[in-house]
Symmetry: C2
């Protein structure tokens, strides 16, 4: 087992191989990918797995903090790379002890322990003069106190001894897009560097635009095998934007010494600005006082609790089992449990792509996982949209509409962050129309809120926030509709659906359906509230200045929205069927579809080929609007024309494939979605973890293969169809205040209830059952 | 020839191979050595030859400015590493175009053109994807305007084309001792980063201790083969302590584009502090307005003038010829022609070792070259000591003496910079007694001033400065002497001579002789001035509060200074002959002497073995005090016991070897001295160029082999003894206002006079001749 290759203290902590993702052998050019794969997140911040030892040439070190954004010279506000506390340089007589390009270490092994939220590494370096050093490192970001992180280094000079030197570093020279010169931006300004006597060093900085202060403090201890402090000397060195503490210790040949690095972070989001420095110090002091091992134990207890709720046990495919946990691990580690002013970026907090912005991915791909598994986090995510509702209102007005129009990309302020212009690596600039035309995100926000409410029954949310969002988004759509007098119908012209390769188009089926759903749902809930909760209705009506006849007028609009013919293949947008047509007939070595050669000479927007399938997505979300036959027909038609160049596409094709009986295809899509980052199968994992894939993968297994759903009346329902090779799937959900353990086998479904006052009823095979108490 | 491997514009500029020092093939671990060897200096600043392209792992980039020192956390004030303006990163689609560890470029050739003060480089990189790019770079620091430097890059994408991207960088993250963590110190603080619209970017900083402002500005142009501006876009990016200007340009496959980088520097030493930023900008503007090529021509004209005066042509040993020029090139390029508040560091301005401090090396090893070749620079160097005379007076008082005691290591303030404590790489600390006991530097300063005066006849200096230095240093020695009543003699106890392996000792022969010389010379000149220039005498007497009888008292002291017996071997210090004795009987593969094994177990200070020979040095300086036989005897004795672990030692052994007829040994010492850096034969060239070796080497050839000297009456005199293999030596000196061309052959000496009103008379072979007019 991998853990057996580590020293005893690490071996004692690590899980079995089933829970480990491993990097075997050192490949300098792959480090940047592993930095994402092995990124640790604490719910407060994320720390990419750049080498603690420094000296890597190809690296994207990053410490992102949930909610800390900045724009400066960038095209958009983006998660700001904050000071890197994760460096500890090690030397013997000025020569670094580190893996380096051109000096490949021996027996290099790094493992991510997903069960425990740990990152462990070991190798032996050989210096030019033949000195060999064994290095083993264990890193964690405390899930118990998300602002704390640290690591231990066990260092063994194998064939020499003497004074080892270390630099405890906090590095604020960091930028975003460090290896992309055109986009490289520095988001922080260093304001303060100082020694924290006896504790370590401190670096204060602030974001450049909003001057949000960020404090980082770090200290080291060096102990021998008996735990005795052997740190010899300590000197603080301010290097401009790098706080450095130089320390040293003697180590005999063959002796192992242990260097512990402690770090703590605080921002002006956590405490009043004037208290940031002192709180940072206090957090570091608390971490040091608690001690590395005790804090680690608290962290492990938190991960045990998290996994008890979130694990998805799969018997029958070990590789897929690991990938499922990999996706869940990163997904559940990212969002805050307490902060409803932050959301989840499209690449989680694991990379810089998309600036850490929330997209519609949150509502349609991520929320179902949180709704079922961590509803308290889901509440934060829906709160986030409510807290930015005013900005969405401004955004509607700015674009000439009413109600609330949510931005395509959302950071901390709720402003539209999607840039109007983009530059390609070859230097070509192009006008990016996404923010102008891709409006379906607003329906997704409404959809997410309604489904959160319907799944969790959180009336507090819906009364105070959800219904308001639903109405204001409905209002947006009503104002967005254009009346076609000739045809006596409402249309949405110049719009872009999820398939961004055709933009803008008229009457995109996906958008029109979603707009109608949004308006209808608002009208429906308003009617219900008017009747059942008149005081909530009245308060809302006043808040949003709702005219008495407005719901009726909305309804009239909704019912006249143009929708394409649903007998047969649904046209993705008006005119789609006129495009140059061909089906995909070639796949690459990874089984990814290739552009049909027949269409090679035709511009993208004049071809039928899709980036991702709007209609398939639509049918997934609006199952009851389409007959089973229509769904099968459309899946067949569009699948042959979809290149899946969005990581959102495969999971939906898995779910729809299952629904229409294409189980073999479905399984391929499941794999594509599940392995996207663990296998780096889109070659862009260096930029972060695909959040939507992670959430979509969870949906594939639970909502797809296990057939979990809710009825119109809000009852939990199961219609499982496990693949032959799966013996069992087991997972937990929180359902109306109770923790349920769901076990799906080839023989059926078993639901066990761990707690809660009311017995949980569920449907299975048309049968109504009561969950077994355990 | 090497120049034929370059593109036409570079080829047209470069000298023939005889003037070039070449680095063939790229060796990452040797870069740091070539950074010293290829360092360019302008008299204003020095720019180490770190790769312009960046991305080197092992590099010590440095831009030192004469007179810009700082201490901060260092042990001593040191030449502060100021912002590196010498970087221009180049990319194609984010992939650097640069030599890197693990990506060795093809056909790599770099040459230092000593004749023209140019550095040229060429190679072909191959990227991982097979793209090949030819790169050729030509760099210079303008000798016409020393604050300007720049380079041109000719870039040819050999098998691809597209948008090339560049970063014009001013990097203020620089530190001293960047690869020596324990000593690494940052000396500057960035205060200002901004774009200079249409011109480039600006970075303002200040030294951390004295807040001396340093401005750096840099701009780029990109032109095609026809010289047309093809720069496409320009964006300023402030990265904390790095000012960066991102620029790009299209380049077709096989096309060559040329990127010109212009930089200019200004400090608070040049102009009032408030004008630094504006002056920096104006200097850059002037450089850009002049144009790269026109400034380069002005630079070449200056080097032509410098070499006309400084070249040392040697026919008969091409390798040695190149080494002689190499030493002269770096030596003459370093000091300012106009600034008498700076001196020359022991490693020139080419590296960080010894902090850029002036030692006695200046007076005894460097001054003779400048006295004869560039007396205007020599004047600055002696002025420097006068300007710091008050500090030397303070230093005397602080140490309990009178008069002026010069510091062992001298930076800008004149304070003693030699630290009292030192740490070795293995972590051991030791008390460094050099500043406490090594007093002979004070005599060296007096000696340098007197010889400058006697060689140049610069009465202005001696009247206003030199005599005052001479008297105050004499006063120091008088106060330093201790009277031994028992023996009725004056002694200097607890003192260290040049041989630092024996410290402190009593009555070091070298020190006692120099002290006597210093006092005697003061008395002698005071007597002369009293008689010949009574007004100067009177003014001085008042200035230094000279009592009427003081010279007489000095003289009484001087004549009673204890000196060892000069019949036979002179004892280096009292008790030296009692030390454990053995002679060197083994040499390493480089012919460097090794410790005699017989003494292996005995502590260094109890062994007769010397770092460098005091007595040999003494006899070189005080020829007339010792008989020829005594000199021969002592050379023989001490040579067998000297390890030459100071780079000051070989040149003196060459000079003395010649004098005593050991011509074969002498030639070996000449080579050791001449090749010390060009061959990196002490393995420490990475830290800078050995100034004393450079100056000593010049002395070996001119004062040694060509036998140039001056008589007591101030007449130029030649007693040449060329080695058989040398056909001719030719060089210039400036002698009493006239430029002389000296040609020494196996047949004799020819002196030609280029200018001057008075005919120059010289002695040769006992004959008095008149220089031929040319």
């Amino acid at each position: 087992m991998w853990k057996d290759r580590f020293c005893q203290p690490i071996r004692d902590l690590l899980a079995d191989d089933a829970w480990l993702v491993a990097e075997e052998g050192y490949h300098p050019r792959e480090q940047i990918v592993y930095e994402s794969i092995f990124c640790l997140a604490s719910g407060y911040m994320g720390s990419r797995a750049s080498a603690e030892e420094g000296f890597c040439r190809r690296t994207l070190p990053a410490n992102y903090i949930n909610g800390v954004f900045d724009r400066s010279e960038a095209f958009q506000r983006e998660l700001a790379n904050t000071p890197d506390w994760c460096k500890l340089k090690m030397y013997y007589q000025c020569e670094p002890i580190a893996p380096e390009e051109g000096n490949t270490p021996e027996d290099y092994l790094r493992v991510l322990d997903m069960q425990h939220g740990l990152l462990a590494k070991r190798y032996v370096t050989q210096a030019a003069d033949g000195r060999r050093t064994k290095v083993e490192i264990l890193k964690f970001l405390s899930r118990a106190h998300g602002w704390c992180g640290g690591f231990k280094v066990w260092l063994t000079p194998l064939n020499y001894g003497g004074l080892l030197e270390f630099e405890n570093i906090i590095d604020a020279t960091v930028t975003n897009f460090i290896d992309f010169p055109r986009f490289r931006v520095k988001h922080i300004r260093t304001t303060d560097l100082r020694a924290l006597d006896g504790l370590g060093c401190y670096l204060g900085c602030e974001t450049r635009d909003f001057k949000l202060p960020v404090g980082t403090a770090a200290g080291v201890r060096i102990v021998d095998e008996q735990g005795r402090d052997i740190l010899k000397s300590r000197a603080f060195r301010p290097y401009g934007e790098t706080a450095c503490e130089f320390v040293d210790a003697y180590c005999r040949e063959g002796q192992t010494i242990c260097v512990e690095k402690y770090a703590a972070v605080c921002t002006g989001r956590d405490v009043p600005e004037s208290q940031v420095a002192e709180t940072t110090r206090a957090r570091l002091q608390a971490f040091v006082d608690t001690g590395f091992d005790a804090e680690l134990q608290a962290h492990l207890a938190e991960y045990a609790r998290l996994w008890h709720r979130a694990d998805l046990e799969l018997t029958g495919d070990d590789r897929l089992q690991k990938a499922l946990r990999f996706n869940i691990f990163h997904l559940m580690s990212t969002p805050s449990r307490t902060d409803n002013r932050t959301n989840i970026g499209a690449k989680l907090i694991h990379g810089e792509e998309y600036g850490g912005h929330a997209f519609w991915d949150t509502e349609l791909f991520l929320l179902p996982f949180f709704d079922y598994v961590f509803p308290e986090v889901a509440r934060n995510l829906v709160d986030y949209r409510y807290l930015l509702l005013d900005k969405a209102r401004e955004n509607a007005v700015k674009n000439g509409f009413r109600g609330a129009k949510y931005p395509w990309e959302s950071a901390d302020t709720g402003d539209e962050e999607c840039p109007a212009w983009t530059i390609e690596p070859d230097g070509s600039c192009y006008r990016c129309y996404v923010a102008d035309y891709e409006h379906h995100v607003t329906a997704a926000v409404a959809y997410g809120g309604v489904h959160y409410f319907e799944l969790t029954g959180d009336e507090d949310f819906f009364d105070r926030e959800g219904l308001e969002i639903l109405c204001e988004t409905a209002r947006f759509w009503v104002s967005r509709l254009e009346y076609n007098a000739e045809k006596d119908r409402y249309e949405i012209c110049k719009v872009t659906g999820p398939d961004e390769w055709h933009e803008p188009v008229d009457n995109n089926a996906y958008t029109n359906y979603l707009a109608r759903w949004n308006i209808r749902k608002a009208v429906e809930y308003l009617a219900l509230y008017k009747k059942e909760k008149p005081e909530v209705y009245a308060r809302l009506a006043q808040r949003i200045d709702l005219a008495e006849d407005e719901p009726k007028r909305w309804s009239e609009h909704a019912e006249k929205i143009y929708l394409p013919d649903t007998n047969g293949v649904i046209e993705q947008f008006e005119g789609y069927f006129d495009l140059a047509d061909a089906v995909i007939d070639e796949w690459d070595e990874n089984n990814m579809p290739l552009w049909p050669k027949a269409l090679a000479e035709i511009p993208k927007e004049q071809r039928c080929i899709l980036k991702q399938a709007d209609v398939v997505m639509l049918m997934y979300l609006m199952e009851h609007e389409f007959s089973a036959e229509t769904q099968r027909l459309n899946f067949d038609y569009y699948e042959k024309r979809t290149l899946h160049r969005s990581s959102l596409s495969p999971s939906i094709h898995c779910l729809m494939g299952l629904r229409v009986g294409e189980s073999e295809h479905a399984y391929q899509y499941l794999c594509r979605s599940a392995y996207v980052d663990i296998d780096n199968n889109q070659r862009n994992t260096r930029e972060g973890i695909h959040a939507a894939s992670a959430g979509g993968t969870w949906q594939c297994v639970t909502l797809g293969y296990c057939g979990m759903s809710t009825t119109d009346t809000g009852e939990l329902c199961f219609t499982p169809h496990l693949p032959e090779q799966w013996q069992r799937v087991r997972y937990h959900i929180r359902w109306r205040g109770a923790d349920l353990r769901i076990t799906v086998t080839q023989d059926g479904v078993d639901v066990e209830q761990e707690n809660g006052t009311q017995p949980v009823i569920y449907l299975c095979g048309g049968e109504r059952r009561t969950a077994r108490r355990i």
